[in-house]
Symmetry: C2
Subunit: 421 residues, 2 copies
């Protein structure tokens, strides 16, 4: 992997995203004796694993024990083990799908254990005919599969702290995950119940001990909302709402109500505890902004990042995730010199609506201190703001909907720190 | 969900794929008292799960215990617990991604337990410079993420039996799965080693006790082959080749060599035990066909299917999977009358190259016996053959590369049997 100066796209060694990398610098050369041994197959020099039968089959597989440290990081309220959040270890993952076992969690009073045969979804309120759906009934409806991220409104909120917290990409930004969801378009169920023309919102309530409930504008319910029954191909996991959740692509995570038990059509918002005591944004004038529910355009570099130190100067790939609650990612720019110059990253397609998008850019790190930033732009022209500009929008201490540019400081020795740009 | 006769697209009640379903037939109506109770939130009539705190967080989540019966079905050789296969329960899944824990397995001598820090990938043979890559070195290379199915050459081979086996979609066709794979394009490593112009194939060898080894044409290695390091976002699972496997999108599963330890560039095929004693097709003239390695165009209806009985006449969605080793799926047609008439199913996008594609079609089952078929066509015009035509290509007993049209017989009482069309 070599690259010439002609391939430079921006300062600090960032290369053009279509740079072809050639020539040997990362691999080791093989001595002649080693190469000869390597050719022997199950013979001298072959690994021990080729001489003993391996492990048998399993009904449901688990990760390699060598990677048992790839886990969600749990932060729960003292004495309330089911209240808090767990975060996806973004820095240990690649691609765009989050394994269901590592999807972030945010529970307000634990994970209910719901018998799917006894569970029902009720559609009532301002409808011509209140209806009740069993899971078996829903399984007969036309379904749709799509990728979608879910992100907690509080994700990256730690970045309002005066000093950058020294923790991982997942620790900072891991309240976002992405799955292939399959379920029944909500519009079908609303049509079946017959929505009263006076209804413009609905109340969605979960069957958990927090009675999680949020008001959702009707236009969203008729647009791309679904009753999600499957996640990454299998029935939705308990932490994600088994046996069913509301999926509102691009909206705050908490509105994607888990363990969904009823939808009540209403004239306006219900102003539930979950949308008044929290999930509102305090503005500089002392008023709280409500129902700003669409997640902003955002990106984070996952590799290199805090905890994944450099292995000496040379070629690396910068890899990260970008997303927007408004639609598709159009562009991600990367800077290695703290924002003085930018190079455009390659987007790993297919780029999907309201889903995580992987971006990649080759980088020749020359061993000097480098401040790495990423800046995403979505198809509507929304661009990630600088941290100072984001902070200026709100009252001090307001941490919801944080989507400013994040940064990693690569030090001369190869260590990586969280930094503010 | 109602539909008029105007929506009929083919015999047996198949509806046009863009039929809008309206009106209540599947949901139950709510009595006034029930509707009133439903409105109470955490009050009278609310479920027990709303009154007690739920379960706490977990580092790595698992499926709901209510769905503990969704497992791979294991078929191993007696006294050799690591030799055989396990199958994906296709009829219990939806969407296109297979959870890693349910990805089919085919092992020839068990799953080796490989220390990733000690594992190396060797590139040698007809190269300018033999090279050895550690996992840490590979993690610095440019990567690519893509969806791809992997299918065993023996998948659906049971369909050569004179009588249709009475088993599930997964039991018949479950040696196919689909993941989002991330890894290093093989072409980069070959360029780095410098391929001798005399080399036109390479030998890929696994580090398992079967020493699984296959010859791969060089054009494929330069096209879309990768050294896969991640599966569905996380490090590749032990059953799928931890810490690395060869991914050859669209080629026979066994060629996607797991636990990959070396690639030897060669003048021609090596004719290993794994490509001569098996994975060849016996032809009617007594000769065996070798290296027909691209999987054919294929489809299977997963719902309704054997084991998922009908719940009485009315509207249903027919849902299934289609794929082709040659590229993208262009069209899937469905018949409910044994092939007399066909309706075109909707393809759930994005339709991706050499990946599973979900197809869907609304169906009004009127309670009569119905023979359900699906027939896929890929972007190159390849069409699934009829079973009789497929069988006529080969010597009796040859079961590899089976891709003929499959069928389910829906009986008047709602039972579903496997059938031949």
């Amino acid at each position: 992997m070599t690259a010439s100066d002609d391939d430079l796209a921006a300062g600090g060694g960032l290369l053009h995203r279509r740079t072809l990398l050639r020539g040997g610098v990362l691999a080791g050369g093989l001595g002649a004796a080693f190469a000869a041994r390597a050719a022997d197959g199950i013979g001298e020099g072959s690994p021990e694993t080729m001489r003993v039968p391996g492990a048998p089959f399993s009904g449901y597989g688990v990760p390699a024990h060598w990677r048992g440290d790839i886990k969600r990081s749990i932060g729960a309220v003292p004495d309330r083990p089911g209240t808090g959040a767990s975060r996806t270890p973004l820095e240990r993952l690649e691609g765009t799908i989050t394994p269901a076992g590592l999807h972030y969690e945010r529970h307000h009073n634990g994970i209910p254990d719901i018998d799917p045969a006894a569970h029902t979804l009720i559609v009532h309120g301002l409808v011509k005919q209140p209806l009740v759906f069993s899971l078996d009934a829903l399984l007969r409806y036309p379904m749709h599969s799509r990728a979608a991220f879910v992100e907690c409104a509080g994700n990256s909120g730690g970045m309002i702290a005066p000093q950058p917290a020294q923790t991982t990409a997942g620790g900072l930004h891991g309240l976002v995950s992405c799955s292939e969801w399959t379920g029944v378009p909500l519009s079908l169920l609303l049509d079946e119940a017959g929505v009263d023309p006076r209804a413009t919102w609905l109340l969605a309530e979960g069957g958990d001990a927090a009675g999680m409930s949020r008001s959702v504008p009707l236009w969203k319910c008729r647009d791309d909302a679904m009753i999600a029954l499957y996640q990454n191909g299998e029935p939705i996991r308990p932490e994600q709402g088994f046996p069913m959740r509301l999926l509102l692509p691009g909206f705050q995570g908490n509105m994607n109500v888990k363990w969904l038990r009823r939808l009540k059509l209403t004239v306006g918002p219900t102003f539930t505890k979950d949308e008044t005591s929290r999930y509102t944004e305090l503005m500089p004038d002392g008023k709280a902004r409500e129902f700003m529910v669409e997640m902003g355009v955002k990106s984070v570099i996952t590799r290199p990042s805090f905890g994944l130190n450099m292995q000496g100067p040379g070629l690396y790939e910068i890899s990260g995730l970008a997303w927007s609650g408004a639609g598709k990612i159009a562009k991600v720019e990367v800077s290695a010199d703290g924002g003085k110059s930018w190079a455009q990253a390659a987007l790993n397609g297919p780029v999907q609506d309201k889903a995580l998008t992987r971006f990649r850019l080759p980088w020749r790190w020359q061993g000097a201190p480098s401040l790495l930033l990423s800046r995403a732009t979505d198809e509507h022209g929304n661009v990630q703001p600088k941290r100072a500009d984001w902070l200026a929008q709100y009252a001090p201490g307001q941490a919801y909907q944080f989507n400013a540019i994040a940064a990693w400081q690569v030090e001369a020795g190869g260590g990586i720190k969280h930094a503010y740009a």
